[in-house]
């Protein structure tokens, strides 16, 4: 594999992969907020 093809592959798949993975993590964080809502006693402490 020549350097240009390698670099472009890394740019597209690497950047795309990072973006998609972080997007999945945002979805997971939203799910965590649904599964683990703030309890009333935690609310009082805050």
């Amino acid at each position: 594999m020549n350097n240009t093809v390698f670099g472009l592959t890394m740019l597209v798949v690497g950047m795309g992969g990072t973006l998609v993975t972080l997007f999945i993590i945002t979805l997971v964080i939203n799910a965590l907020a649904l599964f683990f809502p703030v309890r009333p006693d935690e609310e009082e402490k805050k």
């Binding site: 350097n3 690497g14 973006l19 945002t26 599964f35 703030v38």
Partner: protein, 388 residues
């Protein structure tokens, strides 16, 4: 008898003879060490790292120094903790323990700034390849765009261990990475002002309303570790150690371990890592054209990271009808919490009633996760392409 005395005196002055005969590169590197001392002590630039790195650099460049020879003290430290990637990973445990992901969990969409803030890594990789670096060297140089010293050392040292890049390059990369991290307050503001209008910079963002439960904070590091393990297993040690440190802290049941991770473990690892990295900065190997190019490309990487983050901020500003301040995008890099504080001060400069800190902290912790994720994905792609 007189011959013996003369020979003994000659041995004492052998270092001076060496200095005059072949010591040019050593003198330059000792001067570099002195500049690093000055930066750390007088200017407060990353003193925790620059002091041991500079001292290691001084030790290895003194004439006839044997500290990096087999069984030398710095070589022993290098083999003990850098050659096998241990020290960067231990520092990550400390970083994880010092990081508070609450703002990010309260406002998870800002994690996407952490992806935009990594674009410099991949563009720099392409540039480095075009400039003639080998694939492994280009990946190592590009890692500076992660704005994260341990990540750079972890990635580059992996290649040094395979003899794919020179060991001296690890030192150049580490110094470049830490120098540019310290220079974030100098590099970012002009780019932030250049890419945004006064109106955009003055946008006031309300405080995040989302609340975060302790259970969510505890589950977060486990979930991120599992996702990284599935998507990019080659980078699992990096993400796993950050998340371990954070998990110990948020669990709240092992304050001694959390304190050790934040203090003793991070401090001892930083000292040994700095010394060992300084030990790789031997003048004859360090003073090369490649070192200068590494510093140039490092600056490009961090500049493009900032541009990527601010441009995503501008897109978000347009899509949200002017509700998102594009400056927050600049915090999507790993320099934590410096980048977030910078966004806060820059935002207040244009609107005194603007408090962007919590949003910037969310983007900044997103940048930490993003940088490690980008490195992890890069390593996994290299494995998939059969390069490592």
């Amino acid at each position: 008898m007189s011959d013996a005395i003369l020979s003994a005196l000659g041995a004492l002055f052998e270092g001076v003879r060496f200095l005059f005969a072949h010591g040019g590169p050593n003198v330059i590197m000792i001067s570099v060490a002195c500049v690093m001392f000055w930066l750390a002590i007088a200017k407060g630039v990353e003193p925790l790292l620059l002091l041991p790195i500079a001292f290691g650099c001084l030790l290895v460049n003194l004439p006839l120094s044997e500290v990096m020879h087999a069984d030398g003290v710095l070589k022993t430290l290098y083999d003990f903790g850098i050659g096998n990637e241990l020290f960067p990973l231990l520092i990550f445990v400390g970083i994880g323990s010092m990081t508070d992901f609450t703002p990010l969990l309260a406002n998870p969409r800002l994690l996407l700034f952490g992806a935009a803030g990594q674009v410099g890594i991949f563009v720099t990789l392409l540039l480095a390849l075009w400039l003639g670096f080998s694939k492994e060297e280009a990946v190592s140089v590009a890692a500076i765009g992660a704005c994260d010293g341990p990540t750079v050392i972890y990635v580059s040292n992996m290649f040094a261990g395979m003899d794919r890049i020179p060991t001296a390059m690890v030192g150049a990369l580490a110094v470049a990475a830490y120098s540019y991290m310290a220079l974030v307050p100098v590099i970012q503001p002009p780019i932030m002002r250049l890419l945004t209008t006064k109106k955009e910079r003055a946008v006031k963002m309300p405080s995040p309303k989302g609340k975060v439960s302790k259970a969510a904070l505890i589950a977060f590091p486990i979930v991120v570790t599992v996702i990284t393990g599935i998507v990019a297993p080659k980078g699992l040690p990096l993400m796993g150690m950050i998340m371990l440190g954070n998990f110990i802290k948020v669990s709240g049941v092992a304050p001694r371990l959390a304190s050790a991770a934040e203090n003793e473990i991070a401090n001892v690892s930083t000292l040994f890592l700095g010394l060992a990295i300084g030990g790789t900065m031997l003048g004859t190997q360090f003073l090369t054209r490649e070192t200068l190019m590494v510093f140039g490309l490092g600056l490009v990487a961090i500049t493009i990271d900032t541009v990527g983050g601010v441009l995503l901020g501008k897109i978000w500003y347009l899509l949200s009808g002017g509700k998102v301040n594009p400056l927050v995008g600049a915090a999507g890099i790993s320099a934590y919490p410096m980048a977030a504080r910078l966004v806060q001060s820059e935002g207040q400069r244009w609107n005194k009633h603007n408090y962007l800190l919590m949003h910037a902290m969310a983007a900044n912790t997103g940048g930490q996760i993003g940088s490690v994720m980008a490195a992890a994905i890069m390593l996994s792609l290299l494995k998939g392409l059969g390069i490592i």
